[in-house]
Symmetry: none
Subunit: 222 residues, 4 copies
Amino acid sequence: MFEQEKKLIDEIARLNEAHLKMTEKQNNIIQAAIEIFSEKGYAASSTSEIAKRAGVAEGTIFRHYKTKKELLVSIVTPTIMKLIAPFILEDVGEVLDKPYNSFREFLYEIMKNRIEFVKKNLPVLKIFVQEIAFHSELQDKYKKYIAEPLFNRIKDIIIYFQEKGEIAELPVYSIIRIVASTVIGFFYMRFLIFPDLEWDDEAEIELTIHFIMSGLSPLKGK
Amino acid sequence: MFEQEKKLIDEIARLNEAHLKMTEKQNNIIQAAIEIFSEKGYAASSTSEIAKRAGVAEGTIFRHYKTKKELLVSIVTPTIMKLIAPFILEDVGEVLDKPYNSFREFLYEIMKNRIEFVKKNLPVLKIFVQEIAFHSELQDKYKKYIAEPLFNRIKDIIIYFQEKGEIAELPVYSIIRIVASTVIGFFYMRFLIFPDLEWDDEAEIELTIHFIMSGLSPLKGK
Amino acid sequence: MFEQEKKLIDEIARLNEAHLKMTEKQNNIIQAAIEIFSEKGYAASSTSEIAKRAGVAEGTIFRHYKTKKELLVSIVTPTIMKLIAPFILEDVGEVLDKPYNSFREFLYEIMKNRIEFVKKNLPVLKIFVQEIAFHSELQDKYKKYIAEPLFNRIKDIIIYFQEKGEIAELPVYSIIRIVASTVIGFFYMRFLIFPDLEWDDEAEIELTIHFIMSGLSPLKGK
Amino acid sequence: MFEQEKKLIDEIARLNEAHLKMTEKQNNIIQAAIEIFSEKGYAASSTSEIAKRAGVAEGTIFRHYKTKKELLVSIVTPTIMKLIAPFILEDVGEVLDKPYNSFREFLYEIMKNRIEFVKKNLPVLKIFVQEIAFHSELQDKYKKYIAEPLFNRIKDIIIYFQEKGEIAELPVYSIIRIVASTVIGFFYMRFLIFPDLEWDDEAEIELTIHFIMSGLSPLKGK
DNA sequence: CATGAATGAGTTTTCATTCAT
DNA sequence: GATGAATGAAAACTCATTCAT
């Protein structure tokens, strides 16, 4: 796990450095590609349209990204890294001892924090959700490199709070499954299915957490 | 609502009739297209590959479906109709009085029944989930023609069981949101994110329902 | 020349007979093809559109006309035959002695008569004018089979009236060229370039003939 | 009218500039397209044949001309502009006072000059004559943008010479109609119907003008 | 670094024609 | 005789990628 953290930190450092080196044109390309990929999907987007919207020549894209797919990966990777970073990077002690005295508080902080992140990065996250299904490059990278560490970390947290008696003694898998699907279900509805409804995010978070905690309460859990 | 039921029944009748008229080759085309669309996505699938896999000439596809998009719509429409049909068609009285004595039982029956349906129609449903984001033809059709009636029906059911005192007196919207996102989150994980894990569906359904009922229990709800 | 007359008479008889045998569907095909060919040109018209407008199955067209080109020839041939028939068929004596006492009168009768014919057969004649340039089948048939006899006949008429002293003793070729181009130029403008202007045909014919006669007058001709 | 002149000058300047920017390949495409369009007609010509004859890849055509129709318009427009330019651009005073002392001389100069132009641009003009009937893009552009200014200019010239007493006081419309149809009829015969005959252009021009002037002479005109 | 003309394999779509029913 | 499903070749057009400038 320590190693995973390190890899991730290195990777993010590398990405940041690469990001700083980016010329203005390169940045325009990325922005244009994000817009167009998220509007029409990767396969239906053409590099020539991206070039046009970025205000560069068609060839310029391929000077920076060998292939169209490399462009896709370059767009999605850093954002996904940053999406899961808080789970992996935060010092366990810190997460569990000082800042969060309860699972409820943990859920609340994570949801509040990630909802802001999602709002800021919605187009890229849309691209990720759409394209993960079709590109083994993305799948390999993320299933093993991201889903697993994320899962392990959350497992620890669950176990910690189970031991503290705050959460029912259900199988950890089940708890993760149900918490994850509730939270992911909320994000999915909030941002993908009905992004145009007027959402009171604070209230929805409260309700979701209340709901999760009811289901996980040790007494009820019996 | 009565009118909605009627429209849906007519539409399903029309689709069934059209289905019966289908040539063998036409059927091959549909099957091949389902496979390929769900494997690579609509935009990345070529009609020539579909023709090859269906064992027909490429021109034959366009004799039956004027455009590639019409082929997509022809594939997705009937399955989606059948997916939501049980919610709309079942006689209210029947649903609420006779067969289901409780919201718990209602959830159980619906989930069991729909999980089977999803298993049988997974490729088409995958296509739907992927493509709905990009095709206004699908969006218009389904948001107004399907999402709305579905929502209305479920609202009635929730209110019915709230009045019976089985569900907490939270705002109906919130209840739907939280129940839907929990159930949809489960389906999404079960079939799209980790379809290859070994799932004990019976147990997962039980857990999900237990979870939902805990969150909605009137006492806890206070 | 006698032989030419005979051939033409036989051909027209054959065409008339064929026309009488035509089924209703066949007639619909011809009418639909005329409309569509003259609207969009032969090459840009599709047999399937013709079938649709004719209310027959696609295969039915090919039961009556082996190829699309045969359909074109079948449409154009009879009308062109009838267009030039009056020049060839009328008994010379009749044309020159009894009915027409002068070249002026000859021009007048021909123009009046043919303008009516053109009005009735405009679409087919449009097709002819458009397509003659591209189809050697049409060219061969019409240049030798129609243009020549027509030319010969008119030559005789010109010579006849030159001998009567009504027309200047210019080379016959030149006279034909100038009369033909004036008359054809008029028809072309009247029916192809500006068919939508309000034309006073009587007056235009008078003017055209006055004009031709001025140019051909023996005195002026000197 | 001044404005029309200016528009035309600007348009011609723009076309010339575009022409200078043309790649060698682009030029090959235009030449190949002219040949093939005029041989078989626009609709019956394929872009693949054009590419082959031009010695370029088929995609190259579409890099320069978004559609096949745009290629057609790009071919026809400049030539038609240049065909009518002498009528619009020449300084009125110059045309009427200095160079041409008579309508006869005006006709002679125009015919001589335009006959040379037509000889040089026959294929493109053939394409124009064939295709104008079917493409509203061409019709709109040319009817309003070319036919009208041309008509107005010629009207002025006719009136000028009528006032000078050289031409009969017939309605201007009629004069234009008859002069135009005679001249156009000549060109049509000379270049489209019998281009393969041996033509003595000088003599034909003389005859045509003699003919027109006879018909328009004020004495005879009465 | 950037350009944009050029490519060629591929895309969706059209269409005249055939043939079993 | 009439149908219309089926075909396969060819149509117009697209697009990721390369490369000389």
